[in-house]
């Protein structure tokens, strides 16, 4: 089994977001730490488990600036075999379709692939678009938001969550599957893994090397403004003993807020 895992580097989820001077992006200077998107870690873990059960290799692919290489090193330290870093100034303002086109082109350079895994969403941009786009661009079937994956012979059984229900899917392989929380518990990289990761192959490619024109990754849907949400009004404390607080709160929710 050759599994490709798409990884995105994102600000740590505890990051306090500040707006950059451009008014269209977050201020990276205020980001204290960058991590692989948590959903991508589920995808990496699943790929490693599949390799442990079936043999084969795990290749990581990311699109991002120089700093994104750290996310690949994290995945290599967890146990992935090699990595591809697509880096090009034209990708810095790409929308998810541009990113998906770059990822698809990078994956095509890897020869025959049995499975492509992604996180179900990149934490931050919160688009949830790349897995489905990648499947379409690579002409593969897709199952998104997976909480269980069982690999069979040339096919996979996948469970995914929908509103109030769980769907069981079967898909032929190769396929694109996106990982949801609950799929597994990602391992931590060992010190040995971290040392080994430094020597694993990591290939850097730009758009030209992928045969892509900057126009192919130009944003169709572009951010024209980024702002902080409006502040909420100050809290009103409900006073009294618990019984009084309870009655007063119910009255306020009914009469004032009109939500019950």
């Amino acid at each position: 089994m050759k599994t490709v895992v798409c990884v995105e580097q994102v600000p740590d989820t505890e990051t306090r977001v500040r707006i950059a001077a451009s008014g269209t992006a977050i201020s990276e200077a205020d980001v204290q730490s960058w991590i692989p998107s948590p959903y991508d870690e589920f995808a990496i873990e699943e790929a490693l488990r599949i390799r442990e059960a079936k043999g084969g290799e795990v290749v990581l692919v990311t699109v991002g600036p120089e700093r994104a290489q750290a996310a690949l090193r994290t995945g290599l330290a967890m146990g992935a075999d090699s990595a591809v870093h697509v880096k090009d100034a034209a990708l810095e303002t790409a929308d998810p379709l541009g990113i998906a086109r770059a990822l698809a082109a990078a994956i095509r350079t890897l020869g025959a692939v049995d499975l492509v895994l992604c996180g179900q969403q990149g934490v931050g941009g919160d688009h949830s678009q790349v897995p489905g786009m990648l499947a379409e661009l690579l002409d593969l079937p897709q199952v998104t938001v997976a909480v269980k994956i069982a690999i069979g012979e040339g096919e996979a059984a996948v469970e995914r969550e929908i509103e109030g229900a769980r769907e069981s899917w079967t898909t032929s392989l190769p396929a694109v599957i996106s990982a949801q929380k609950g799929l597994n518990e990602p391992r931590y990289a060992s010190l040995k893994g971290i040392m080994a990761a430094k020597k694993k192959p990591l290939q850097v490619l730009d758009l030209k090397a992928l045969g892509l024109d900057p126009g192919a990754v130009a944003a169709g849907a572009r951010v024209v403004r980024l702002e902080l949400p409006p502040p909420r009004p100050p809290v009103r404390m409900v006073e009294g003993d618990p019984a009084t607080q309870a009655k007063e709160l119910v009255r306020l929710l009914h009469e004032e807020a009109k939500v019950i």
Binding site: P11, T13, E14, T15, V17, I19, P96, L97, V123, D126, H127, S128, Q129, V130, P131, G132, M133, L134, E136, L140, P141, Q142, V143, T144, E161, I162, E163, G164, A165, R166, S168, W169, T171, S172, K181, A218, G220, A221, R222, V223, V224, R225, L226, E227, P229, R232, V235, R236, M237, V238, P242, Q245, A246, K247, V250, L252, L253, A257, V259, I260
Partner: protein, 326 residues
């Protein structure tokens, strides 16, 4: 004449409320853009739903109605929607950001080359241009998005767009369509996981519990209050990671982003990644014993106290309120 195309999700022969919200928003935008509204619905027996879609604002309903289309399959539904887009040549394409819409829209966007804005919470027309507002970083910031070309695709967050009045007298034009139903990935079984429970993303009222509950054995206090209020149950990441409740209940940046009309945070201090996932709720109540808990900064009403004393009282008061209103 400009055209807005919407995709309506039908499951088990019924339209999801989110599908109607999308039609309703399309109708509102149609006024500003001078457009007509066409709605695509795919499934078995879905022709019967055309009237309801028309009443909500669709001028034309394109139905892919076939027993072979009963179960959702990404490739098949994507083919149908792309086919409808090729035939109708819309300027704008809107889908609900439901599990189905979230799975379907990116595939169709890649196929048609359309720019896609997901999980939008507002759409407006400024000087003839469409602008979408969508939260990022689970609500820590909000972006305004515009498109460079057409069609402009967007998915709309359920429970946020108002449902306009229905007009059963609106005429409806039904256009039948047919699509190849072969797919490499298919649903073989659907199992209800939360029978009778409202999904978090669609709940109007959510009661969430955190570490202040001290242990999973006390989580029933949250469930009782949710039941008394007729709402859904949520949880903080801390208690999900501790294994008290299923991860499906997690609200926050690595869980679900919710915007109910009422959000009650019980024993949740308010880690930044949790606040991100719920601070767009219309009314927030925080119950906590720590006066410095960050959750009070986003709350409209605060109850400072011991949740083990407050919750049973609140559940009783909510039950009494419900009983009094019949």
């Amino acid at each position: 004449m400009a055209l807005i195309l919407t995709f309506a999700e039908a499951r088990d022969g019924r339209l999801r409320r989110a599908s109607l919200e999308v039609v309703s928003e399309a109708r509102r935008l149609a006024g500003a853009l001078g457009a007509t509204v066409e709605t695509v619905v795919v499934g078995a027996g879905v022709t019967a739903l055309a009237g309801e879609l028309a009443a909500q604002g669709a001028d034309r309903v394109r139905v892919f109605d076939d027993a072979a289309l009963a179960a959702y399959a990404t490739e098949v539904y994507a083919r149908a929607l792309a086919q409808a887009m090729a035939a109708a040549r819309p300027q704008v394409v809107l889908l609900p950001f439901t599990a189905m819409g979230k799975d379907l829209a990116p595939r169709v966007a890649a196929r048609t080359g359309a720019g896609l804005a997901s999980d939008c919470v507002a759409l407006e027309v400024k000087d003839g241009r469409l602008v979408a507002r969508r939260p990022v970083y689970a609500g820590k910031a909000v972006t305004s998005v515009e498109w460079s070309g057409e069609p402009r695709m967007a998915t709309l967050r359920p429970n946020v767009f108002a449902l306009g009045p229905q007009d059963a007298s609106r005429p409806v034009e039904v256009v039948p369509g047919a699509v190849d139903a072969t797919a490499r990935a298919r649903v073989v079984r659907t199992t209800a996981t939360a029978q009778g429970r409202v999904p978090l993303s669609e709940a109007q009222i959510i009661v969430s519990g955190g570490r202040g509950l001290k242990g999973p054995e006390n989580f029933h206090l949250v469930e009782s209050l949710a039941e008394a209020l007729g709402g859904a149950v949520g949880a903080s990441r801390a208690v999900v990671d501790a294994g008290w409740v299923d991860h499906q209940l997690q609200v926050g940046q690595t869980g679900r982003t919710v915007s109910p009309s009422l959000y009650v945070a019980v024993g949740i201090s308010g880690a930044i990644q949790h606040l991100a996932g719920m601070s767009s709720s219309r009314c927030v109540v925080a119950i906590n014993k720590d006066p410095d808990a960050p959750i009070f900064k986003v709350a409209d009403y605060g109850v400072l106290g011991d949740l083990f004393e407050v919750l049973p009282q609140l559940t009783e008061a909510a039950k009494a309120h419900r009983a009094a209103r019949g």
